[in-house]
Subunit: 701 residues, 2 copies
């Protein structure tokens, strides 16, 4: 859906237009007029005959034609009636500016629901309520009371905070940043962030999508659509309110490590969305994406007229993990031949404090032609002879020709102001510090890398889905949401995992018999649906080597544990073959995020997870590359690969385990949370063993 | 030393003053005059009789009195002669602006050395050469060619880059940031950063010291003096060029983890210096320190007229590890009684979009009185009714009265400009985003915490210093800089460490005999000065339980290792008692930084150090608190304290070990590098064992 009639309406009605200065109904109308909107404008207000030279209508029906877009500013209680009126003359698009809905409490929420119902019935799509409106500079449409129309540009902006949008607009108008559109989505009762992002996705004039969000309504849809759009246009989002959400984490292992924040990060990562931490950062990034070509690699060259800032840039490039370009011999020769002897002809190229524009022009030209250089950062400090304006003109001229990104950082204020204006008009982004410019190059390089990622192919393993279906259905039917260890293992076995053999014993003799059949050594584990962390109560005893040891361990558990946990229903003791621990213990987990669905987790067992929180998250379903990447993203990857003489373990086996769990939780949305812990993995080729598994369900629909 | 005559001279001579516009000699003189300098100005130039209305002298002697300060602008080859002239009339202070010295190569370096020699002989202190000059706004002294005189303020600035200083000056003049002084130190051939920092330390008008440095000449002195000054005035430094330096790390364990960057971090940490990563950040911090009281705790309250920015501030507060203030009941009641019903009376206090100045004033007043609140951040977005200017006036008025820091973030540009000007003039720092304001509060809170740190008391252990002296002296005399394992252990034993017993065997039978005496199990280690990492060549065999095992292990080493390392001189095999490994293995290390001296290192053995680089560094000598803090600073501290059922180890024993090594390396500056690895530490009370030690020496000046 393009929401065409919102951004480019042929006519606009303003219901609640007012003659009274300071009133929103006045501001809206005068903004529309002042912006130079070329379509018809119909003020609607029964109390006026004319406002600002325009004929005013008592109601929508008296206009005599159907406006493309209706802006509603009447007090909240009147909004339902106005919408009914809209429906009668077949209005299709509305913006409800009026506040006093969901945001004020239960009463308002009811009113908002009523509005949604009316709109749906009448086939009206609407933005708001409780919003600032919409601005589309290239169509000279300022349907907002947020500020003056900014210059047309290629950034599409969406904001869940009206006040923030007003601040951004003010900032943009001061610095000349251009926008294709700006939308304040308010309570997003109908049209939400995803609708707008999709509209921006197909809008020709929008090359960069940016926004501020506090929540995402449809997580699944967001990831799908944003991933698709990110392939063509970068999406830059600020997302706030993440820390408090993070605190409400679930209690189990996986849960406690995967708060809402992690889900957002994973979703943004999957969708290629670039996360911004402040307005400043967002506009630093946006102006580069909007105005410069994408870098074809990580190599950055720096041209400067002073040593200090050059060093600062070099530090930043190294710290950001970009490459400090090594100039080709040919480039260096040209620089040596044409720059003064004292100039530094290596990166950072120092054209010296007395450089005029021509020296910058020459150096930039040569450096941009160097095949080892993917992008150039031009630094300038205002010195005695510095030509800020002329240098900026030269930078603009050359940058246009070469197809590589050129960013500028003219340090200072008054003395570089003229130059900065030239850069802005010439679409060369200007930064207030070398660090901000380099941070921008970093996200550009990362974005290109994301765009060039391999196609996502999710492997489907042949599994016994039926078996899992029957276990899950029975548990849900019986309202039993935690699946016991034995059946949890049946489930993962059905999805191709090997688990240790074993059975439940209810007497010491029985335990010894089972041990005899399994062969020594064995493990004993207390068997109770009420005890989640068995080792905390002394409920795990490993390495038992004889009948006597098994019997002793059994009796001790039966004597001690009921004292520690009198509440627990103890069903017996699991006697299990002992998995050779020559391998490494890892954890494969999943936690279903309410917005974004199954979030896979990988971590190495023991302190690496518990103390160091060295874990990786990815949204399911996982491709083979993503599963592998999860391992690589942990610091412990080196340990798994083998360090200092220690043999490595079967990395591919872990990646496959992750993919199998990913398939399981994708095929069974009833699984709310699960982990395989430990998943013991040995040398390449050896079968990994899922020693323990926990699975819990939730009712769907 | 106050360098009084530099900042507040009664008369200034400009040698090389010029009538010609564009020349540095003209700029300097006109800047002096334009700044309104109230002392006498003596232009010196044999070719002119008068410049800019001032009498011009052919040489210094003809002035007839001794100028307090002499500024030298003549070409480099003439500088020595001019300095001689200065000496003759007993000039005490000079600024050498002239370039063409050390920075242009060996010739220039020679010239610079000559200049230093002359100055020393004549008792002249000088700034430069190759610098931009010095500015002292409160004395209306602009002895620079960097730009116009900024407004007087309380920030003292020092820069190793002249160009950067010019940019800062330009920025300051555009935004009205005030300075007490600005100094460009150039090649710092005589007066260096430490001299200036010390001068700022005693300067009444300087409340905050800030600067940009590329190197520090006297590391030891810097740490000592800066620590002293930081107790009274915050020092905010940008330090660049750290990444390349970091790459040149030494090859051993300790070395490879402790590059120059780590030494700088440790030195800044010890000295309470606040590290800044960009000019913007530096001025964000500086304006708060210069204009606001220090926060007495970490609790931040936020007042806003819009939800979005309030959430962004809350996120930032939590992310920075500050406390999101919980308002007292009384405060909330007052807010509820006086703010509209829709206002949020919890933190962040939302005074709503239609708030006028009075509502802000009321809320700020009440919130600042709350004992739970240590600082307040006032956010404002420009909405329809917003009174930017009046709100700013109210904020300034109240902030002045309460003795708690108040920071502001008025978002936008044109619409908030008037308000921002009022804030600036009223000394309430204004930030471009909630994030920058919160980052500033964070460094203020950290600084207060640093100032309130316990007094540093270094414990002196009773040790056998003589013994170490004799070993070290003998090694140095023989030019043998690596101390062998046996004597390295003698050294640490002399400083109170327990080491495992053992002797060297040269035959299998001898090995078995030694093992017999020590008692089984034993460890065998190859004994060669040429093999640093014994286990890499199979030169360590642990847990040998019988005569036969010892003999086999001995013979296998003697057969295999010479094949792997034919170059190595193998002296035998060390047979050692086996240390019970029930404890944890940690590493205590030291690496002597060329600038800052002994840098202590602590890390947990194995993957924690090798893979995760989970290590902590501190400059020696260590206090007990600092040694403890080193442990706490590692992620593995939790592991040492004991996690999930595992018993913890003797934390104090490790801290004591760190202090003992700290004492050793402080008393023996000849020790260049050492580590005790592993240092095996058990349950509280058990004696920890230094299993292995490496010590290497360096010749001292």
């Amino acid at each position: 859906m393009s929401l065409q009639s919102f951004f480019h309406p042929k006519s606009v009605a303003v219901i609640g237009a007012s003659r009274q200065k300071g009133k929103v109904g006045f501001e809206m109308l005068t903004n529309l007029i002042a912006g130079g909107y070329r379509g018809k404008i119909f003020p609607v207000n029964p109390k006026s005959e004319e406002i600002e030279g325009l004929k005013c209508y008592p109601d929508l029906a008296s206009i005599g034609e159907t406006p493309d877009l209706v802006i509603i500013i009447v007090p909240a209680p009147f909004v339902p009636a106005v919408l009914e009126e809209c429906g009668r003359i077949r209005v299709k698009s509305a913006i409800i500016i009026t506040a006093g809905f969901k945001e004020v409490g239960p009463e308002g929420k009811k009113l908002e629901e009523e509005v949604v119902k009316i709109a749906k019935r009448a086939g009206i799509r609407f933005i708001g309520p409780n919003c600032l409106g919409l601005i589309a500079p290239s169509h000279r449409l300022n349907a907002s009371f947020g500020g003056d129309l900014p210059v047309p540009g290629s950034i599409g902006y969406i904001s869940q905070s009206g006040a923030l949008l007003a601040a951004i607009l003010d900032l943009a108008n001061a610095t000349g940043i251009g926008f294709s559109s700006l939308v304040s989505i308010g309570n997003k009762a109908d049209i939400d962030e995803l609708d707008i992002i999709k509209a921006f996705g197909v809008q020709k004039e929008t090359k960069v999508i940016a926004g501020y969000l506090e929540s995402i309504t449809d997580g699944d849809g967001f990831v799908r659509e944003a991933e698709d759009i990110s392939n063509r246009k970068p999406i830059l989002l600020m997302k706030s309110g993440s820390t408090t959400a993070g605190a409400k984490a679930a209690s189990s292992h996986t849960g406690s490590l995967a708060g809402g924040e992690v889900a957002y990060e994973s979703a943004f990562h999957r969708a290629g969305v670039i996360r911004c931490n402040s307005i400043k950062e967002q506009f630093d990034f946006a102006q580069a994406f909007a105005n410069q070509p994408l870098p074809q690699g990580p190599s950055v060259a720096v041209i400067t007229n002073a040593g200090g800032p050059g060093i600062m840039a070099a530090d930043a490039i190294e710290e950001q993990g970009l490459t400090f370009a090594k100039l080709a011999d040919e480039t260096i020769q040209k620089l040596v031949q044409n720059l003064p002897a004292a100039a530094n002809t290596r990166n950072p190229v120092d054209v010296l404090g007395d450089a005029l524009a021509d020296r910058y022009e020459f150096a930039l030209n040569v450096v941009l032609d160097d095949p080892n250089v993917h992008s150039v950062l031009v630094l300038l400090t205002p010195q005695a002879m510095t030509q800020g304006k002329e240098t900026a003109e030269a930078v603009v001229r050359i940058a246009r020709k070469k197809g590589k990104p050129v960013l500028a950082c003219f340090l200072g204020a008054v003395k570089v102001d003229e130059g900065v204006q030239v850069l802005r008009r010439g679409n060369v982004p200007q930064y207030d510090s070398p660090e901000s410019a380099v941070a921008t190059l970093k996200v550009m390089v990362d974005y290109v890398r994301w765009r060039n990622r391999p196609k996502r192919v999710v492997r489907l393993f042949s599994v016994n889905r039926r078996k899992v279906e029957s276990i899950v259905e029975r548990h849900l039917r019986q309202g039993q949401l935690d699946i016991g260890e034995a059946e949890a293992k049946d489930i993962i076995e059905a999805y191709g995992f090997a688990t240790p053999k074993g059975s439940i014993a209810t007497t010491a003799d029985q335990a010894a018999n089972i041990a005899q059949q399994l062969g020594y050594p064995v493990v004993l584990k207390i068997w109770s649906p009420d005890i989640l962390h068995k080792s905390d109560v002394g409920g795990v005893k490993v390495g038992l080597k004889s009948e006597q040891e098994v019997k002793d361990a059994f009796d001790l558990m039966m004597y001690r544990i009921p004292k520690k946990r009198p509440d627990a229903n103890i069903l017996g003791v699991l006697v299990q073959e002992m998995v050779r621990t020559s391998g490494k213990e890892v954890i494969i987990g999943m936690h279903r995020d309410p917005h974004f669905g199954p979030l896979m987790m990988f971590g190495m067992g023991g302190i690496m997870v518990e103390v160091l929180k060295d874990v990786a998250f990815y949204l399911a379903p996982l491709t083979a590359e993503e599963a592998k990447q999860m391992l690589v993203n942990t610091k412990t990857y080196h340990v798994l690969k083998g360090v200092r003489g220690q043999e490595g373990v079967d990395i591919d086996a872990i990646a496959e385990g992750l993919q199998r769990v990913s398939q399981l939780v994708t095929e069974f949305p009833e699984i709310k949370e699960m982990d395989i812990n430990p998943f013991v993995v040995g040398a390449p080729g050896a079968t990994p063993i899922a020693v323990d598994a926990r699975i819990s369900l939730e009712k769907k629909g």
